[in-house]
């Protein structure tokens, strides 16, 4: 019976995650505008955009894979959000984290991306096909420091269960991994920038050169699903990083604050940098964050 409660809670979490994700998107646009000396759109602009997209009257489809890809994208987003405990050991907000540990989450994260990439490729648009190759190449870049930090933390805490990782960081701010293993955290947080395709690493979407990247051919309801998926996915990743580095959360307020801090980190960094080319991004990830992260990694290895 408890599983049905879980499902109910999960629905709430997904809807809440969507709302929060859209809000963060709006805030991001607002911050960008203010940094550029503009007034910027309302923070609720993303809600309006979503409503408009859903209520577009026509759409085109290029094939089965094109059709299903937004669903995969949404599924990938929901999966990540639900597999990561927002508040560990809370019946409602630990979500479905009993279903799998950190490794499961890491691989499930690819699910949505792969789905979207396939849909994009099925559209037959050359830009859509080009963008995922860039994305995957860049992924090979940022995953290396990210995996470094994940493995380091797992070995350091003797667990890959996210709940246990959170539990290991309890007991004051200095127990957070951010302070316990600062170099690993730096590596992980830099990798996070790549994961969000935020500005120095935004070559995947690259509006100036390849239209809007993978979703070039997507429109209307399809696009609204992708938009939804991306928003939820974004929140899921913030929660994941919060659990990994910022000691998780014990109540909702704390969760909001911590994810918001992470969000601000991404937004501020992304607003002050130009864009790397793919191979530059890859080289960057394979040098600085990796070397920084290795300091702690070797420390853990020796210990």
């Amino acid at each position: 019976m408890w599983i049905w409660y879980k499902v109910l809670y999960a629905l709430i979490v997904v809807i809440g995650g969507l709302a929060y994700g859209l809000l963060l998107g709006g805030i991001s646009r607002k911050i960008t505008a203010r940094l550029q000396g503009r007034r910027g759109p309302s923070v609720f602009q993303n809600y309006i955009d979503l409503i408009k997209l859903i209520r577009k009257r026509t759409a085109i489809s290029h094939g089965v894979m094109f059709f299903l890809a937004p669903m995969f994208r949404l599924l990938g987003g929901i999966g990540v959000l639900l597999l990561v405990p927002i508040i560990a050991n809370n019946t409602a907000l630990s979500n479905f984290s009993f279903g799998g540990d950190l490794i499961v989450v890491l691989y499930f994260m690819v699910f949505g991306c792969l789905g979207m990439a396939l849909g994009a490729a099925d559209s037959g648009h050359p830009h859509s096909a080009l963008a995922p190759t860039r994305g995957l190449a860049q992924m090979a870049g940022y995953e290396l420091p990210f995996l470094l930090s994940v493995i380091g933390l797992a070995i350091a805490h003797n667990t890959v269960s996210l709940s246990n990782l959170v539990a290991a960081q309890q007991g004051g701010i200095l127990h957070w991994n951010l302070f316990q293993y600062p170099f690993l955290s730096i590596a992980g947080l830099i990798a996070m920038l790549g994961m969000y395709m935020a500005y120095p690493f935004s070559v995947v979407m690259a509006p100036q050169e390849i239209a809007v990247g993978p979703p070039t051919e997507y429109s209307s309801t399809f696009l609204s699903f992708m938009f939804t998926g991306r928003s939820i996915f974004g929140v899921g990743k913030y929660v994941l990083f919060m659990d990994l580095f910022l000691g998780g959360a014990t109540n909702l307020v704390e969760a909001f604050v911590k994810t918001f801090v992470l969000f601000l980190f991404v937004v501020f960094i992304s607003n002050v940098f130009p864009r790397y080319r793919t191979e530059q991004a890859v080289r960057f990830f394979w040098t600085y964050p990796l070397v920084i992260g290795l300091i702690d990694f070797i420390r853990i290895f020796i210990k």
């Binding site: 646009r29 505008a33 550029q36 000396g37 503009r38 007034r39 910027g40 759109p41 309302s42 602009q45 309006i48 955009d49 409503i51 408009k52 209520r55 577009k56 009257r57 026509t58 759409a59 085109i60 509006p207 239209a211 809007v212 979703p215 070039t216 051919e217 997507y218 429109s219 209307s220 696009l223």
Partner: protein, 191 residues
């Protein structure tokens, strides 16, 4: 287009619908206008100032996208040659309904200073349904924003139905287009 292995050959569907929260959705549509960045003439120079810091169209929910598939608004930014018109028709037809067209500058109104040019289309609305004209040669970004305000007003009131007109009178529009475009090499309808 005779050889149809690459393209969908169907005529566009006529769309009629009624929504429960018509006003609310129209409001949402008006507040979220995505403009396809397709520069046809000298007016495309006026678009970047409009969306960047000085005039900041984004505060009205107007932002640019790189593909017609996702766009709501097509700006015909200046004179249209026959050659450009073909592309504009293709871009317009590839946009998804509801969609709106803003004609920018005197050239779109009546040919402007090129009224007697052998290659400038004088009356754009014969070929593409224009929702809002912004006069001027060229109109300043303020004027364009005013035009957008007009468009938003029309959308909110449910009067911005150029796209519906296009679909309803598709045959007529096509006839007009084919009159000036010889050797119609693009598909029957640009899906």
């Amino acid at each position: 287009m005779k050889d149809n292995k690459y393209f969908l050959d169907d005529k566009p569907d006529k769309i009629s619908y009624s929504e429960v929260w018509q006003k609310f959705f129209n409001w949402a549509r008006a507040k979220s206008l995505w403009v396809v960045a397709y520069g046809t003439g000298c007016g495309s120079i006026e678009i970047p100032p409009m969306v960047t810091s000085r005039f900041d169209a984004e505060r009205f929910g107007v932002s640019t996208v790189g593909t017609p598939r996702q766009a709501d608004v097509l700006i015909i930014s200046g004179y249209l040659a026959v050659k450009t018109l073909k592309r504009v028709i293709r871009v317009y037809e590839q946009m998804q309904s509801p969609k709106y067209v803003v004609g920018l500058g005197a050239c779109t109104v009546n040919g402007g200073m090129y009224y007697d040019s052998y290659n400038t289309v004088n009356l754009v609305e014969l070929y593409i349904p224009i929702d809002v004209y912004v006069a001027g040669c060229m109109p300043r970004p303020e004027a364009i924003l005013a035009g957008f305000a007009q468009l938003m007003k029309k959308i909110k009131e449910g009067r911005a139905d150029g796209w519906k007109h296009y679909l309803d009178n598709f045959e007529q529009y096509r006839k007009n287009q084919e009159k000036i475009i010889k050797n119609w090499k693009i598909p029957n309808y640009n899906w």
